[in-house]
């Protein structure tokens, strides 16, 4: 039993490795599916905007509200903008965007490709002399890899605006002072590390969603499993990547 479990695990890892290697081989050689990439960017980016806007705004506002009492105790409410900026830009914006989109986009990709797999649409593409991997996998992974960093930056901006509204309401700080204070503590390394994190999250969401969908079996039950596994696995990997990238960026910072 244990041996079979280990076999399955290592076969799974090897298959995932082959899938990722195939992605890199095909991503850089033509012909390119530009139209489909643009359509996927629209699906991943534009259609996630309402959810990211709401989440980012609420997080910025609530985080400010919850941090204020601790700073009041030290008479340091003027630190609020920089505290919020550090938390939002360094950690919250990419992490929250990654988690939200792994739920929304990852499950959608897993279910869509999974249902195409179990209804033989992928086989139909294959036998009609086309390349379903390039059309379905490469386009979606490119779209998530480029769009999640954009969404993360947008989430950071909206979060800061939520925070500003709360600070303005309570401390009457002007917008220009808020921005000046906020960016005092933010370095190029913070923004760079955030972008790298969001890019890694985007790639993870795309590759996990497409991999789970592409290997879906057992009919409609398999589609549900693919969607679910896409979310669970990409969330787990996002947390692992967050830990690793934070450690690495801290080495650079020190």
């Amino acid at each position: 039993m244990l041996s079979k479990g280990l076999d399955d695990y290592f076969i799974g890892v090897y298959n995932a490795y082959k899938f990722i290697a195939r992605f890199f081989r095909q991503a850089f050689q033509g012909p390119f599916e530009f139209r489909e990439i643009v359509r996927q960017c629209y699906e991943v980016g534009y259609k996630s905007l309402p959810l990211i806007t709401l989440t980012g705004f609420v997080i910025g506002m609530v985080f400010t509200k919850q941090s204020r009492p601790s700073l009041i105790a030290f008479g340091a409410t003027s630190w609020l903008p920089s505290l919020i900026a550090i938390a939002t830009i360094r950690a919250l914006a990419p992490l929250v965007t990654g988690l939200i989109t792994s739920g929304k986009v990852g499950s959608h990709i897993g279910a869509e490709i999974g249902s195409m797999k179990v209804t033989e649409q992928i086989d139909a593409m294959e036998v009609s002399a086309t390349n379903p991997f390039r059309f379905l996998v490469v386009t979606r992974v490119i779209a998530t890899t480029f769009m999640i960093p954009v969404l993360a930056m947008y989430c950071g901006f909206v979060g800061m605006m939520g925070s500003f509204l709360n600070i303005y309401q309570n401390e009457k700080t002007s917008f220009s002072t808020f921005i000046a204070e906020a960016f005092k503590q933010i370095t190029f390394l913070d923004i760079g590390a955030s972008l790298i994190k969001a890019t890694a999250f985007g790639f993870t969401i795309g590759i996990v969603g497409t991999y789970k969908g592409y290997h879906a079996t057992q009919g409609t039950q398999g589609v549900g499993k693919a969607a679910n596994a896409a979310v669970v696995l990409s969330m787990f990997l996002i947390f692992v990547e967050e830990l690793v990238i934070v450690q690495v960026s801290n080495w650079f910072r020190n």
């Binding site: 209804t119 649409q121 086989d123 593409m125 294959e126 036998v127 009609s128 002399a129």
Partner: protein
Amino acid sequence: MQEKELKKEQGPPVISIQGLYKSFGELDVLRGVDLEINKGENVVVLGRSGSGKSVLIKIISGLLKPDKGSVNVLGKEVDTLNEKDLRALRMKIGFSFQSSALYDSMNVRENLEFPLVRTVKGLGRKEIDQRVEETLDAVGLLDKLDQMPSDLSGGQRKRIGIARTLMLKPEIMLYDEPTAGLDPITCIEINNLINEVQTRYNASGIVITHDLSCAKVTGDRVAMLLDGKFTRQGTFEEVFNTDDAQIKAFYNYNFIE
């Protein structure tokens, strides 16, 4: 129901299968299959559910790999081809799926265009539109051009599925259960379409079916797949003129019950 008139002249073999074996785990599905299909000939493969009929055409199209044996299609050994050569071969093979397998996020036009724009270089918009309209007209569904697959009936989906395979003007057509789940009138329409494809494109074909009416109307030759092997091959009359209990049961189920 009229039995199909035998074509007097048939060309050289386009598909040649010898000693083909395929298993899934413990289950031996194909156990030494031999089959030859000549140019311009439609062969109907009959057999019980799970007898490996669909597996056979999936191996011919390179979707599955055989465990043992030789599968030669248009002079190429399918399981030895690399990705590029297999794709080139597939341009000459049309595969009509049992479920039609239409791309449900695309409308009918985009479904038909999909293989064409990705495999034939240098086609202009006008030529693509013309080819799509010609092919849709050939299957009698020109008015469905901008509809989504979900808006079509089962028979229409089958015909659009066949139309999509015709976009590349294949030399070989593989039909997986083309009349399954359709009403008798639509079955007749699909049977006629299969014969028309054979005549118009001079395409050879393998028709996988349980439906003996379809077999009688579309097959130049019938091959009976039982216990992983072709036990009988010949014209419809030759195959069913037997005392073999399994084959008789197959015939009686279709025409008596």
